[in-house]
């Protein structure tokens, strides 16, 4: 009688761990696209590793690495139109880069430069969210507005498995579905929320199935299979653009690194588990196997590409740090559109003290 609990969600997968899949299905992806996809994924892996090193060297602040989640992020963003909105959390640097954020800006951001937090005007990327789950509501509102204005952008909201426990997530799904707004809720289930494994986060068998309660479509996709993610996302976005309403996508993936650079993952998971994901399910590996099978990629190309990206990183870092201007009086800017009288006074006082060299 209560057998709806037996409901099963099949996981969408096009490319298995060894780079095999249905030939016909795989043939629908052009060589050019596959190379672009792989280049992006390899590129962001290199960037992630460099950022992690820079944090260890004290050159940037606390950092949340995304290695292991490249397929989910790149695969989903490449399915978007340039003017679609994305709503990232702290772990979506790869998605932001692929949506057009300049690398130099990432460095400004992680170095705490005031302007690092300001997204370029022509990019539809919402400010990075760190309060868990909050951006689900912002994405819903943005999508609602585009719908009311008769525009055709879709809003894509990124968040983790842990975020699905927040009230915000549930209210956002409910709201989005009631108003049938063009928003995609893209959950990267990377198995952990800091130390808490996903089975302690939810008793649902999948996160995707939560969509049903809100009268919304839900899909579970292999988040380490960039092709499956891309295809699923493409369909979701098209449906949303056609006025078919929101969708929840659960991309099953794994965080290979620590939660952030302030975390010690050995406290809560064993090396063997991590090794399994690294060796067997790395999202880059299976795509590379496919590329090699098609004769699209060689070890030499790999090396050349990695070297090129490394150079790009160095250049972007230099660009970001070359003219690090800024002054403590900047701290008062942007609290309000036009500063209040009190703030103006506080700012002027600091400027005076600066002139007198009482503060630097």
């Amino acid at each position: 009688m209560f057998d709806q609990n037996e409901l099963r969600f099949e996981m969408v997968q096009l490319l298995d761990e060894n780079g095999n899949g249905d030939e016909q299905e795989l043939a629908s992806f052009s060589d050019e696209f596959l190379v672009t996809l792989y280049r992006w994924m390899r590129k962001v892996r290199v960037i992630d590793e460099r950022l992690l090193k820079m944090q260890r060297q004290g050159r940037i602040g606390t950092y949340a690495p995304f290695s292991g989640q490249e397929a989910a992020q790149i695969g989903s963003v490449l399915a978007l139109r340039k003017d679609d909105w994305i709503f990232p959390s702290y772990r979506e640097i790869a998605a932001c880069l692929a949506h057009g954020l300049p690398l130099a800006q990432i460095f400004q951001y992680v170095r705490g430069r005031v302007m690092g937090r300001k997204m370029p005007e022509d990019l539809n990327i919402f400010p990075t969210q760190i309060i868990i789950g909050a951006q689900t509501l912002h994405a819903t509102g943005c999508a609602w507005a585009t719908k009311l204005k008769g525009e055709t952008q879709v809003s894509v909201c990124y968040f983790g498995d842990g975020a699905t426990s927040e009230g915000d997530f549930h209210e956002a799904l409910n709201f989005a579905s009631v108003y049938q707004v063009p928003v995609i809720f893209f959950c990267q289930n990377n198995h952990y929320a800091i130390s808490v494994p996903v089975h302690k986060q939810t008793a649902s068998r999948t996160i995707a199935q939560k969509a049903l309660a809100y009268g919304m479509k839900g899909v579970l996709v292999d988040g380490n299979d960039a092709l499956a993610v891309y295809k699923t996302m493409k369909q979701a976005v098209e449906a949303a653009r056609n006025g078919e309403g929101p969708m929840l996508i659960e991309a099953l993936t794994y965080r290979l690194g620590p939660h952030t650079t302030a975390d010690d993952p050995t406290k809560y998971r064993n090396a063997e588990e991590v090794e399994q994901w690294k060796r067997k399910k790395d999202p880059l590996h299976r795509l590379r196997v496919l590329l090699e099978k098609r004769g699209l990629w060689t070890e030499e190309q790999e090396e050349a590409w990695v070297a090129q990206v490394n150079e790009e990183v160095t250049e972007a870092y230099e660009e970001a740090t070359a003219n690090e201007t800024g002054s403590i009086v900047d701290v008062f800017d942007y609290v309000y559109g036009k500063p209040s009288k009190l703030l103006q006074e506080q700012q002027q006082e600091v400027a005076r003290r600066k002139q007198r060299k009482e503060v630097r």
């Binding site: 760190i130 309060i131 789950g133 009230g167």
Partner: protein
Amino acid sequence: MQKTKQRLLTGNKAIAEAIRLEMERDPNVFVMGEDVGVYGGIFGATEGLFQQFGPERVIDTPISETAFIGAAIGAAAEGMRPIVELMFVDFFGVCMDQIYNHMAKIPYMSGGRVKLPIVLMTAVGGGYSDAAQHSQTLYATFAHLPGMKVVAPSTPYDLKGMMISAIRDDNPVVFMYHKTLQGLGWMDQLDASVGHVPEEAYTVPIGKAKVVREGTDITIVGIQMTTHHVLEAAKKLEQHGIQAEVIDLRSLVPLDRETILQSIKKTHRLLVVDEDYLSYGMTAEIAAIAAEEGLYDLDAPVRRLAVPDVPIPYSRPLEQFVLPNADKIFHEAMKLVNE
């Protein structure tokens, strides 16, 4: 004579020890929150408890602050004594209804029938580049709302003693601990984060400030982290022939007005230093008390030093600029004594 062993503990271990002792004493005490289990709390406040008491009494919750604070209210009404950790005080935004409309008001609205002996433990403070949503203290935000006690201890000794008092208190107590006083390896190491803590259970009363340095020329009130900055400034002031009396507020609600008023009777000058925003904050509250009840004792207007009215910046130099430090306190104090 009290027998005390000179045993040194960090802030986080002092808190965890207090909770452990109370959990051993009272089976109704339990802990819940995000990453409080195997991980021991991201600021170490529950270190070792999971290993000793297991998952039934040290509970890792989903990231559902409204749910676990609301559930603590229900459990407390049913006779339990929950300790819930809100990982960062900044996250009060997602669960404030449960905190101030329910935890703080149900005892009142039930005519005293329902008691809610809850400790809402939460990490506060900045200084380590964690940006606007992870660096606030929000002392005054909580202190402003009737129905909860609010404490902010600054030494390992007080962290332990006040945690035990908070657990035994029949009222909801918001227990704020400062991240940089936890003595964690990945943060800047401060001498103040380590201190003498006796092994046995003891209490430090809620509602009593502490004169941590006696002086005659100026009273400087500190709250938690700023108390340590004030003490540093006081040393420098001494080199200039100025004897500062330093008060560690410790308890925001109830607020110990007497200790402050007595001190200004002696020094006739008052400087208040807070790591919360300047306007509408604890500094204003204390200045108002001095104005209402101690005005004739003062030789000069009260001075306040706090975070300017801007969100805490992520940028290290900007953050260092907005936070109070010993240098700034020294300068403010010098201005005040020369007035």
